[in-house]
């Protein structure tokens, strides 16, 4: 199998219906390669209760061609330069990359915040990014208006990564076209999505998880309560990232989210120095060594169907941990894992970041 084939198979598997990052890695664990997982996909989903077809080969080929045309590349989790921080958390098995992917393996700090940021907020984001850059940190953000834009601008000279919810060539907001081009040239624009992809609201939380996953620390500036930045903050905590917030006056609603996070334990940050000092005290982010992944034999259909019934009887729309199911279902871990995979591929199961699962409503 050539590398080009591998890329195509990974892309097809990840773009197949109901295959999220966790499912992708479970499939590779179980079948050894993406090609073999693709072969098994229809049967697995069928046993889960729904027919799904693998993502078409020609569509994946068109995506690779489109990436090539815009000068972007596909980075796989099996690639040695794939960011270890993302790998450890199984945030995504692949990234489309416009620009210099080596930035993704350097120490990084994410700076995110409000779109309607004040002049002061943008000043703080800019100088914090520039100072973090001068200290050797890559600045990660989301290319949005306001704080994100100021953070990228501050980090441009030393290295900045823009993580997009759409394709790497989908520029939004339009006024950031010049900044997008500058980052593609001297920094790096990344996305999980295909070129040309136009995101909707549901794709932003996934992008935010990627931002937090790429960075060792996440800094919030002028984040309102119930903002997208607070979702990034939640991911940062879930992913074991250090969380920082820049405080503001209680009279300024733009800082309410940041102040609330500090009350709940986020570190108060006034300057890049605060962040650098705190991160220096933390260990680096390395992937845990993976257990060897040997293909696991598929059991006979009858016993699997009985097993599926017993697992389904334990599941509801309320999330339970996989460990808990394992203790109650009288099945081996391997069989339970297969059944969950089948249900997930059939679109009947939802996985949550804390290793719990629930039935889709």
């Amino acid at each position: 199998m050539t590398v080009a084939h591998e890329a195509l198979d990974w892309l097809r598997l990840y773009r197949s219906e109901n295959v999220g990052p966790a499912t992708f890695f479970r499939l590779i664990e179980r079948f050894g390669t993406a090609a073999k997982a693709l072969d098994a996909l229809q049967d697995l989903a069928g046993r889960g209760g729904k027919r799904i077809a693998p993502y078409p080969k020609d569509a994946a080929e068109r995506e690779l061609a489109a990436l090539h045309r815009i000068g972007a590349q596909l980075l796989l989790a099996s690639d040695p330069v794939f960011p270890e921080a993302l790998l450890a958390l199984e945030v995504t098995p692949l990234l489309t990359v416009l620009g210099d992917p080596s930035l993704l393996t350097r120490p990084s700090v994410a700076i995110v915040g409000g779109r309607d940021a004040s002049l002061n907020g943008r000043k703080i984001a800019h100088s914090m990014a520039a100072d973090l850059g001068a200290a050797g940190h890559v600045v990660v953000s989301g290319l949005a208006r306001g704080i994100d834009t100021a953070a990228h601008q501050g980090g441009l000279a030393t290295g900045t990564v823009a993580v997009l919810a759409g394709g790497v060539d989908h520029i939004y907001p339009p006024e950031n076209a010049t900044l997008h081009a500058a980052i593609a040239r001297s920094g790096c624009v990344v996305s999980e999505m295909p070129p040309g992809f136009v995101p909707t609201a549901q794709h932003f939380p996934r992008r935010n998880r990627l931002i937090a996953g790429l960075a060792q620390g996440v800094v919030l500036i002028e984040a309102k309560v119930k903002s997208g930045s607070l979702i990034t903050a939640r991911f940062a905590l879930d992913q074991g990232r250090e969380l920082f917030a820049v405080p503001g006056s209680p009279l300024d609603p733009r800082s309410a989210g940041c102040n609330a996070l500090i009350k709940q334990g986020a570190m108060l940050a006034e300057s890049a120095e605060d962040i650098i000092l705190a991160l220096d005290l933390l260990p680096g982010l390395k992937a845990a060594p993976r257990p060897p992944t040997a293909p696991i034999a598929v059991q006979d259909a009858k016993s699997l169907s009985d097993a599926q019934k017993s697992v389904l009887s334990l599941l509801t729309v309320t999330a339970v941990t996989v460990d808990e199911i394992l203790r109650q279902c009288q099945l081996s871990a391997s069989t339970l894992s297969l059944i969950l995979l089948e249900l997930e591929l059939a679109g009947r199961l939802e996985r949550h970041p804390d290793m719990s699962v629930s039935l889709r409503a």
Copy 2:
């Protein structure tokens, strides 16, 4: 002995040279009454190495008369309505009080901060004080310009205590004359100092210790680095008070002290609710039950002089704890305590809040 005599004796003892709050309470412990301590004062100081005279009786009588004239009263630590919080920490054995002393025994929160406060800072102080007041908390502050003034104004309707570094009738800044009169009428103005006393820089830290001592929690608003408010914050921590700080933008130097305190562990407060919630989780401030105070026999002069030499040999300008001296000096705790008292009255010894002592340079 009548109560009037007791007040006179306490006043004379506390106003005597080198008698601070800790010494005062040690003297009462040792001699039982202020009158007996006054009788012994000259001998004790003499053995410590310096002649001091007790504070003149007529001067103390003039102070009581002056208090009477301005409608103020003297509150002794032996009085059942003396604030328990102050008693437990031996902050002071007496207070001069203009207004309603019953406010001193109610749950209290101190609000202090910068004199050059912004309009927003003063707004926050005012509304926080009003909301704390509505929830049953007395607002304690220092009658200074800026935050203190706004805090008193916000707490005026529900009860506020102004703690002055000068006498209770020494109004500073002059523009607060109306506020001073209003607090004296519906709240309470207190001081350790005699009426008419004009404070100098050295008297403010002592006043700040009193502010922190009177309150269950201390809130800082717009406190700069190296400000008097930060001294109050330090006392609050030393005295086991809950410390709160209202955050501000890193670009506003007026909030630098508050932000620094939050980094160091002070609770971020945006509203009275934050403070009330936190204080509700804390136990009330009660004085520890005191051991019975029986007069202790004074040893003969020869053995005391030898003992003093051995204690002096253990003391330097660097502070050591009394426990450490006790372990090394081969003296009883009672004898060591007496010798330290003598040295302190002679102006040769300094006591520190953490129960350590050092020689004066």
